[in-house]
Each structure stands twice: as structure tokens, then as C-alpha cells.
Point group: C2
Chain length 409, copies 2
């Protein structure tokens, strides 16, 4: 007997038929003697419709009201899932974020879970009542609904798993696991059976959209294994058919590189002739933080003349205008030349094995050079090497690297 | 300056455009210096869709989960309305039933408001923040969402008006007031400017679907004038363009009969040869109450032989099967003959003036007789006379009575 949290994303609860199929899976887990809590997203399309409504009234709207509106989608699915489980003879009830309560920070639209007071829920969970929790939402200290930002249901699921001391968090989705790279780019991509939290974090933050980054961070911190698996296949989490994200120690065989990730929707910003003085980075990035821009890769090389330097970083493409506006308003940067480029892609290879293997970066640079792909920017971390290249090379670069690192299935 | 509650029904918030128009009306009230609280229904069609979802999973579902699902519709509109008001420079926020809180009984799906703890809301209301309350819902002692039954948003509005000590509750809907009868039956029907609570109660319970009966009861008890007015006309509540439901004393000129009402969806049940013994009525109606059947008109005449008697009553047509099932299961009624008839209509004339005028019933019976309409059952109250006739005479009977009582416009 295990205690499991199972999360179903939007496509997995897209209509009544899919909700029924998801309920069947839960029923099979319960029949195995497992205690199960379910986290649901809104039926696919619903959240987009609700967001559209808000934007139709006015594009600039109160985030608290936006949250009240969009959180309703998960509420509907939670109730329907509870009904579907009861229909199968399973004791079940729905929980809204405020009922648990799932306490959130006051950053409406992008709130963070601060605490789950699971006492009331745990009591009934221990009595084997299946809890069906509306994902993506919580309640603030002021008693208002706050949403966690898109994809927040994954975070809800992991946080709930931690609160319930669950053994595993199954994320049912429309893909059957995490792949070595996007199968739409190369058919040679293959499913990874086990991957470490660290690697998954890098892959998630690098654009492998299977799991929300924050959910992986939380799972890592609380040591909750996450399984990514398909809700469309005839299988359940306890059969371990998907990709298990777990501790490095629990993975027998480590590949040097476990995946090739890429982003399509980033823009590169370069500041030339920035005064090379202490605190200049803060001058650049403070206003971006104030404007809520998610700055990703940052590269600054040494100053050749000791007076001015260049800084390059990437931001989400749709935040580029906001970024340039914020930078242009900075007095200290008025001498700097600001260049922006949307026609780029960031390609990364990720692998824990990198730590103990030499020549991993060299393979990457050689492979790209052989294909005539110019590397614009390089950035590395302990388990990742990222490069920025022109967007037109995306597919070629990914395929070549996938082959070069021996990942082809 | 007045304190007003304004409620907008489903068709009045059917889409973003209509929500905007409703917000315009509120803005005009605020500009007049009024303090306003708004109660909203779900966008029209939404509740039906949500109910359909529940039924699609299984027709017999947990009412608590049903409530969690269907209450989401009002939540969406409340958030959108708050955004629309803010866009007009008005300080506004949405309130869900559980946030106020609006405390409800545990009868999920048909809950009653027991108490509104308006302290938190009142504080902000006094600061002229427009409160936008999701109608139709509250929270039970166990912290679960309960809905008030279809049309419950009217009740929410009146209850809120009482809690805020409002001067008037404006019910914006798709008709411009209460009519002397259904204008689809006779073009001679005319709008009533003022009508007493008692008359409105009779009209509402008799099938004039403009206001939910419970909301009128509550308004009567708490003495909150209700105005029914159109959200589609270019007018606002403070101009008093609709029908004001108020105290008898506040109505200058009383008509003898103020309206002709009718029901189309009732069925008549007659029990013949019922033993004429004490407690027999309880034997008949207890099981119906247990089966949650809404019994309406009940008529029992004296027993001619002192041994057996006949009882006639009406029930909603869609509860007829349930009714017959419950009656057939009663041991004490096994000698009785049970007859059911769906082809009936109940027609009623209502007027406070009846109390002080003779011959009102006579006019009704004479009018129907002149048209050759047979009266099957008669029942009277202080301000109402109801008859049951064959359904085929509905339009003829209503038109004739409308003329006979001098109501034609």
C-alpha cells in the first residue's frame, strides 16, 4: 500500500469522457490498496477562455479579480472528478484551495504556496477518502483566491504530496514521459526511464514543457519522486510506465548527457559600452526585476579596456518590449548601445555525468562547428552547457547534438 | 444619496458586452452619489452547461459536488464585473459567498441563507467600494459551497440588501417590470408600477417567473423594496422605471385585481375514496415531503358519507412520476383510486383590493362560464382566487379574465 498524489492536466480532463477515464485510473490505484489524492487542472481550453474574458473587458486588469475568474476552471473539474469517483463506488470529495487551506503569497496571478494546512484533509485521507484538489490555486492571508501562474497545478500536486507525505507524485499528461529531446525535432528522441531532479530542473527551465520548473524545485527540496506519464495509455502510475524524476542516487546508470533542450521564444539583448564599474549589473537588472521580467541566461565577459564592458542576456520574447523600455529609462545606461535579437534559439545539453567527464563541451562545439553553425554566446553550469545560435539552425543543431552524444534511440 | 443593491441576471451578463453595459449602469448610480453593491448571476447558458456536465458523469450525483461545480459560474461573472467597474475608475472588488461569508443551511442544491456576516464587506462598502457579490451561493458550517437553487441570485440580492440596510434592491432582468399577465398571452397586458409584497408573492408562486418566491418573502419580512427593471433599456434603478414591489401602505391606488397568473407545468392528482379519518392528510403528504415533492394547491371537500373523501392537489409536472410512486407505496392508500392529469392549468387572479370588495370571485366564475370553460377545482386565499381548468383553455381564460377585471391597457 502506498500513498500517491495523481495530477491530471488539462488535456487529461478535457471533457467528461476523459474525466471518466482518469477516474478509472484512480479506481485501479484504489483497488490496489493505495491511498490516493487527485489534483486536477481546468478542462483544456477553459482557462484560455476565462483569460480571454478578462482581456476582453480590459487588457490591464486587477490580478485579484483575474485570479477569481480563472481559478473557477479547476473548481469545476474537481467537482466533476469527485462525482466520477463516487460513481465508481469510491468515497471522494472535492477541495478548493481555500478549503484546505492552501496558503499562498499575495502575488496574485503568480502566487507561491507558503503552507498547506492539511490537518482536516489528512484526517479524511487517512480514512481512505480520495481527496480531489483543484490545482493552480490557493488562498491568501486576506482570504482572497490567488493562482500560481500557468502550469501551477504541477506545483499544487507536489506540495500536496509533501503535505500528505506521499511516496510519489504521478503527473498524468499527454506525453508518456520525458524525452531526450523533442520528438517533433528528431524521431531518434527516446523516453528517459529515470532522471535526476537536477537534470529535470535544467530541462524544465530550458523549455522542456513537461513539468513546471517550480514543481520540480519543490519535489527536489522535499524529495518527492515525480512520475511523468500518459493519461491516454492504458496504464497507471503504480506500474511505473513513465519517466521517474528522482534522486541521483536512485538512478543506476548515468548517461553523460541525458537530454538536448532548446527554447524558441526567447530574445537576446546585448548592452555594448556599459561602464565597467561596481554595481553596474544591478543597474541593469534591478529595473528588469521591478518590471517583473524573467531574465534567463546572463553573460558578461571581462572588460578588455577596463572602462566599458558588454552584457548579454535573454528574456522571454513577449517581454522584450517591456525590457527595452525599462533599460532605456535607466540614466546610467544612456551611453550604452542596446541591441535586441529575436531570431535566436538557446540550445542546451544536460547531464549529471558531465561533472565527472571531460570533453563534453568540446563535443558540443565541434559538432556545431562541423555543421557550420556559429555560436553567439556560451554559458555553462555544472550539469549543463548552453549556447545561443541563430534560430534557423535549431532543428539541425538539436539533431546533430542528439546523435553526437549517443542519445539516438 | 442612497444605498442600493443591484442584481443582474444571466441574460443581463450574457457576454462581455452586456457585462460592460451593466457596469455602465452601476457607474451612473455611483456618479449620482449612491453606494452600490452588485449581485451577479452566471453568464446565461453557463449554469446549464455546468449542470449538463454533472448529469453527463451521472444523473445521480452528490449535491455538494454539484454545488462546487455550478457555483463557479457566478464566480466568473463577479470577477469580470469587478474588472469592468475598475476600468470605469470605480473602486470595486468581487466577493464569493464564502468570503463574505454568506452562511447557508446544509441542504446542498437548495440551501437557505441563514446569516450574512457583512462586517468585513460593510467596512469597505462604507468607504464607497462597490462590492460585487457572486449570487446563488453561500458556505455551510462545514466550509463547503452550497447553492440556493435556481434563481437563487434574487434571494442573495435581497439578503445582501437587508445585511447592508439598503434602501432598495434593483433586479435587472430581460423584462421591464411585472405585468398584469404574460404579454405573450395578451397584448393588453400592462406593466404594473407598484405592487405589494403580498401580491407579488402570490404572482411569483403562481408562475410569474420574474422573481424567485423566496426573495420576495425575504424582502417582505425585512421590508426591502424590490424593483424589477430591464437591463436592456437605457435607464437605471434610481429613475424608478420598473415595477416597485413594496409595502401595501406605500401604494396609493389599489386595484381590486392586480394580475392574472397561470401555470403550465403542473399536474393534478386526485385521490378518490380516501378513508375520512384523522391524520389521513398526513399519510398522503408525508411521503411526498420525504420525496422532496413540491405540493402546491391542495383541496379537500367534506365527506358526503362520513366514511371516504376525495383529495386533490397539484405538483410540478416533472415530479408527477415520483409522486405517484410515493403514493402507491403507502399502505393506507391501497383502497384509494389515484388519478393523475397533466392536461391542466391553474389560473389565478390576485389583488389586495379583494379583501374589501365583494363579487370578485363571482366575476371570475361568470367570465369562465360565459366562455364555456369548466372549472375543475377552486381554491381561494385572502388575496387570490385560483381555479384549475383544462390546459387547452389557458389563453382564452387568461384573456377573458384580464378584460373582465379591467386590466387591459
Amino acid at each position: 500500500m502506498a500513498c500517491i498524489v495523481a495530477k491530471f492536466g488539462g488535456t487529461s480532463v478535457a471533457d467528461i469522457d476523459r474525466i471518466e477515464r482518469a477516474a478509472d485510473k484512480i479506481a485501479r490505484e484504489v483497488a490496489l490498496g493505495n491511498k490516493v489524492a487527485v489534483v486536477v487542472s481546468a478542462m483544456s481550453g477553459v482557462t484560455n477562455q476565462l483569460v480571454q474574458y478578462c482581456n476582453d473587458v480590459t487588457p490591464v486588469h486587477d490580478a485579484r479579480e483575474y485570479d477569481a475568474v480563472v481559478s473557477s476552471g479547476e473548481q469545476v473539474t474537481a467537482g466533476l472528478m469527485a462525482i466520477a469517483l463516487q460513481k465508481r463506488g469510491i468515497d471522494a470529495r472535492s477541495w478548493m484551495g481555500w478549503q484546505v487551506p492552501i496558503k499562498c503569497s499575495e502575488v496574485y496571478g503568480k502566487a507561491r504556496i507558503e503552507d498547506i494546512d492539511g490537518s482536516h484533509m489528512l484526517e479524511r485521507f487517512e480514512e481512505r477518502e480520495v481527496a480531489v484538489l483543484a490545482g493552480f490555486q490557493g488562498v491568501t492571508e486576506r482570504g482572497r483566491i490567488a493562482t500560481l501562474g500557468r502550469g501551477g497545478s504541477d506545483t499544487t500536486a507536489v506540495a500536496l504530496a509533501a503535505a500528505l507525505n506521499a511516496e510519489r507524485c504521478d503527473i498524468y499528461t499527454d506525453v508518456d514521459g520525458v524525452y531526450t529531446t523533442d520528438p517533433r525535432i528528431t524521431k531518434a528522441a527516446k523516453k528517459i526511464d529515470r532522471i535526476s531532479y537536477e537534470e529535470m530542473l535544467e530541462l524544465a527551465s530550458l523549455g522542456a514543457k513537461v513539468l513546471q520548473v517550480r514543481s520540480v524545485e519543490m519535489a527536489y527540496k522535499r524529495d518527492i519522486p515525480i512520475q511523468v506519464l500518459s493519461s491516454f495509455e492504458d496504464q497507471i502510475g503504480s506500474e511505473l510506465p513513465g519517466t521517474l524524476v528522482t534522486r541521483e542516487e536512485d538512478i543506476m546508470e548515468q548517461e553523460v548527457v541525458n537530454g538536448v533542450a532548446f527554447t524558441k521564444d526567447e530574445a537576446k539583448v546585448t548592452l555594448l559600452n556599459v561602464p565597467d564599474i561596481p554595481g553596474i549589473a544591478a543597474k541593469v537588472f534591478d529595473p528588469l526585476a521591478d518590471a517583473n521580467v524573467n531574465v534567463d541566461m546572463i553573460v558578461q565577459n571581462i572588460s578588455s579596456d577596463g572602462k566599458v564592458t558588454d552584457i548579454t542576456f535573454t528574456v522571454p520574447e513577449n517581454e522584450l518590449d517591456k525590457t527595452l523600455e525599462a533599460l532605456n529609462a535607466q540614466e546610467e545606461l544612456k551611453e550604452a548601445e542596446i541591441r535586441a535579437d529575436k531570431d535566436i534559439t538557446k540550445i542546451s545539453v544536460v547531464g549529471i555525468g558531465m561533472r565527472s567527464h571531460a570533453g563534453v563541451a568540446q563535443t558540443m562545439f565541434r559538432t556545431l562547428a562541423d555543421k557550420g553553425i556559429n555560436i553567439q554566446v556560451i554559458s555553462t553550469s555544472e550539469i549543463k552547457i548552453s549556447v545561443i545560435v541563430a534560430k534557423e539552425y535549431l532543428e539541425l543543431a538539436v539533431r546533430s547534438l542528439h546523435t553526437a552524444y549517443g542519445l539516438d534511440g
